[in-house]
Structures are given as C-alpha cells and as structure tokens.
C-alpha cells in the first residue's frame, strides 16, 4: 500500500497512525480530523479540566516531536463526506479527493442531544474540548444551579466536578437505578450512593418532560413527575451515537457502528475500523460488540492495523473491556463482560468503606472485576479474568 488514510483524529485515529508507522508502513499517511486540534485526551474533560485543575496543554496526547515523527499529512477541521468503495478513495466536504489504498475508520461517536434543546442557552453536552470550555465558563460565572441529565459515567463525573466546584447540583436519571444493567444492582447501588453522600441531589426513575426556558436561556427542567427543578445550566449525558453517516452508500454494513470481523476488518479488506465507531464480531461471545471505552480506542488499532497491512485477518481482538471513572475522590475501575445476574463476590475491602475489590462470577469462574479505590488489587484481578465463552444469553 502506498497511501493509507486514517479518518478520525482522536485517540483511535492517533493510535492507528502510530501503529502504522510502528508496524513499518512508510508510505503516504493522511489523517483527517473533524476537530481543529491535534489529538488530545478526552477523559480529563469531565474531571480535572472541568474543575480547572489542568489546562488545554495538559490534554495533548503527544509532544510536537511525536507528531512530527509520524510524518503524516494532517487534514484538521475537515469532514470526510464519502468513502468511495471502488478504490477506497475519500472525499472531504472541502471537495478534496484523497486517493488511498487503505482506510482506517476512527470517526468515533457524537453525543446525543436533548430533545427540545436546540437554540436554548445553558444546555450542554460534553464530548470535545470546546464543549468542556463552554461548560466550564458557565459553571464558573456566578453560582449557577446545575441539573445533570443522565447518571451514566459522564453524567456522574460532571455532577462530581460541579459538586467539587461548590455548586448546587441535581442529577436526574430515567432508570430507577443508574448503571444497574452495566454493573448489576448491588454495585450499581454503591455507585449511585456516591451522589447523595457528596451533597448532590438525585432524582432517579424520573424522566425529563421538558426544558423550561426564558429569553432563550434555560431556567428549569420539568420532570415527568411534575416536579420542576430550577436550572441555570443543564448538562445532558445521555449517550452517544457512532459517526457512520458519511459511510452510507459505501457498501459497508452499518448497524449502530461499522460492522467488522473479529480483527476489525470491514466488508472491504482494505478498510478497517477501530474505537467507538467499530462494531466488532467476537467469536468468543458469538455476537458483535461496540465498545466506547478509552482503552478500546487505544488498544484496537494495533490489531486492526496489522490486519490492514497483511491484507487478511491474521489477528483477532480478544481484549477484555476496561474502563475507569473518577467520582467524588473515588477511582472506579471495571473490566470484563458481565451480566446483571452474575454472582458478585467482594474479594477484598468493604463496600461501605468505598475501598473494595469485587469479582463477578458465572458458573464459579471470574468474568468481571470492579474496584473502588483499589488499583493494585484491580490490576491483579483483571489479569485473572476468564476468557469469555459463547454468550448466547444476551445475543
């Protein structure tokens, strides 16, 4: 291959570009990124960045020297408009046509927007640096009442950061117990309890009926229960959708992501996908999995790039999903493929102390591990997880 184009300039795209060079690709390398920035790290945006503890420079994923060494052509602030299946060419919105022999799709995902929030000031989502800057500015102007909608990890981290800034925060979640489907009820309860323990008001099992606004700015959130929460700032952490729109008509199979084989290779052998946008077949689970974790975007490119350069799937993704979250001074770490009905066993520490290591077990085998403030134990337990086995129950 003489030219390879990486579409996506965040962690997955950057990691793919690095892997291409590390694995010996010395041809023309083009990286297309919709953001104007060189690759930066997103996890701190909802945490230290929002709290003002770190700045923009701290987010960089590489030094200038690292970027220089890649010898890549960067197309920053550019959107890919189309993938031409015949020659894997890329067409940008700017009109530029990039003739390319191979493509890495790393276009990530976009935040879901709260219905009825278009044009209403004070309503935020959080994904990009600009999102975080805009939110931080509003949080640090006066002393706004904040309502966070969605108590998944992003919502929980934002609520935690707002509490650390001394603001009045309410977190609203449609489910009776947030994260129960991800972590099971016992450990989801431990996560949910952190909010009220740290002075954040909770409304669980409460759907949002409408945003109330005056003079173009949000003033409140009315819940399905009829209650109205006063709000100067609203943050919606209600999930993301993979960025596949530009691939319609490309012939690639799209279904909540780009469908890939077990090695990240799409329907076209010279096109691979990685990170949030990739829906990868897992033979061990017997189903496709799309994983929105930092560690996945960082780790998948090594294998996908190998298969792209080989022209055939020689290596499969076998990594266990891993994510972490920092909330209210508690470092939460999780790894594995679990079901809500798996047995949960505390193998060290105590849930009450907010310092514990818990193992999920199925048929007596460890399939997942969750830790609160227990990084050492987590590192060990994570290595002892069983490989998943055919998982017909949830397919």
């Amino acid at each position: 291959m003489r030219t390879i184009t990486v579409v996506g300039g965040s962690l997955g795209g950057y990691s793919a570009a690095q892997q291409l060079r590390a694995q010996g690709f010395d041809g023309r390398l083009v990286v297309v990124g919709t953001e104007v920035h060189l690759p930066y790290d997103r996890p701190p945006l909802s945490k230290d960045f929002l709290k003002g503890q770190i700045g923009t420079a701290d987010l960089a994923l590489g030094e200038q020297q690292d970027f220089d060494e890649l010898e890549a052509e960067w197309r920053l602030g550019e959107f890919a408009a189309r993938l031409r299946p015949a020659d894997a060419g890329i067409e940008l919105y700017s009109g530029e046509q990039i003739g390319t022999d191979g493509v890495v799709i790393a276009t990530g995902a976009s935040t879901r927007v709260l219905p009825g929030s278009a044009g209403v000031g004070g309503v935020h989502t959080l994904r990009t640096l600009e999102d975080a800057q805009a939110l931080r500015e509003e949080l640090t102007t006066g002393r706004p009442n904040v309502v966070v909608i969605g108590a998944g990890f992003i919502g929980a981290e934002v609520a935690s950061s707002c509490a650390a800034l001394g603001l009045d925060v309410t977190i609203v979640e449609a489910a009776e117990l947030p994260l129960a489907r991800v972590l099971g009820t016992r450990l989801a309860s431990a996560c949910a309890a952190l909010h009220s323990e740290h002075g954040v008001a909770v409304r669980f099992g409460a759907g949002v009926e409408e945003l109330r606004s005056a003079a173009g700015h949000v003033v409140g959130v009315r819940l399905a229960t009829g209650e109205e929460l006063p709000a100067d700032v609203v943050v919606a952490g209600i999930g993301v959708q993979p960025n596949t729109g530009w691939l319609s008509g490309s012939g690639l199979s799209l279904h909540d992501g780009v469908l890939c084989d077990s090695g990240g290779v799409t329907d076209l052998s010279n096109v691979v996908a990685v990170g949030d946008v990739a829906r990868v077949f897992r033979p061990d689970l017997g189903r496709n999995v799309r994983t929105e974790h930092w560690a996945t975007a960082n780790g998948q490119p090594r294998i996908a790039v190998r298969n792209l350069l080989d022209g055939i799937t020689n290596e499969q993704h076998t990594d266990m999903p891993y994510f972490w979250s920092d909330q209210y001074g508690v470092r939460i770490q999780f790894a594995g493929f679990v079901h809500p009905e798996d047995d949960v066993r505390i193998i060290d520490g105590d849930i009450e102390d907010r310092c514990f290591l818990a193992q999920y077990e199925r048929d007596g085998r460890p399939v997942g591990v969750l830790a609160f403030n227990h990084p050492r134990g987590f590192g060990r337990a994570r290595r002892q997880l069983s490989r998943p086995t055919l998982d017909v129950a949830t397919s």
Binding site: L61, E63, R376
Partner: protein, 116 residues
C-alpha cells in the same frame, strides 16, 4: 538518601511509596530494587499501585508499561519517561537517592521540558 523501609518489609513483587520532594515509588522486582518517580507521566496515577511484571510496572490507570531500569514507557499513552532513582541497601535498610539519575533518554526529555 532517604530510608524507605527494611528489606523484609518489601518482599518481591511489592512496592512502597515515599514522599521526598516528589513522591517516589520503590519496587522489589524479583529481588532487584528499583525506584522511579511515583506519578505516571501521562496522568495522575500512582505507579506504586501498578501491577509489577518483571522489571516493568504498569500504570494502574491506563496500562502503559514503564521499564523500571530506564524509566522509559513502552507504549502509549505515556509519552515521557519517569525519572529513575538509585536504590541502595545498607544493614537491611533500603535507601533511595532522591536526586534523580540521569540517562540519555531522560536528558533529552528533560531538555524538552525546559524548552516547553
């Protein structure tokens, strides 16, 4: 020099964290002692809490590995080496030199830092 602990308090595979000017992590890697700055160069994570494999320590947050002999990261996301420190054992007590050792890779990295 900074007294860390007695050798019997740091068996193989274990680590200790001492706070000198900056926190330093001291490891017993299969009988060899190593010390590096405790804070991962990528983000705020404590390497003394990381998983030890041979003479490599894994950052407990992002799973980047550092070579304890050189301080060099082996993969993303860590970009810069951690500083290494000399460790000595005297009369059954482990001491760490709080002044970082200098290596070729680190000199380059430190130089970059002072420019930045």
């Amino acid at each position: 020099m900074f007294a860390v602990c007695r050798t019997e308090e740091l068996p193989p595979g274990e680590s200790a964290r001492v706070v000198a000017d900056v926190p330093i992590a001291v490891f017993n890697a299969d009988g060899e002692y190593y010390a590096v700055d405790d804070t991962c160069t990528h983000q705020d994570a404590s390497l003394s809490e990381g998983f030890l494999e041979g003479c490599f320590v894994e950052c407990p947050l992002h799973a980047a590995f550092f070579d304890l002999r050189t301080g060099m990261p082996t993969c993303l996301p860590a970009k810069r080496p951690v500083r290494t420190h000399a460790v000595t054992v005297d009369n059954g007590v482990i001491y760490v030199d709080v002044t970082p050792r200098r290596t070729a890779g680190q000199d380059a990295a430190l130089e970059q830092e002072s420019v930045a």
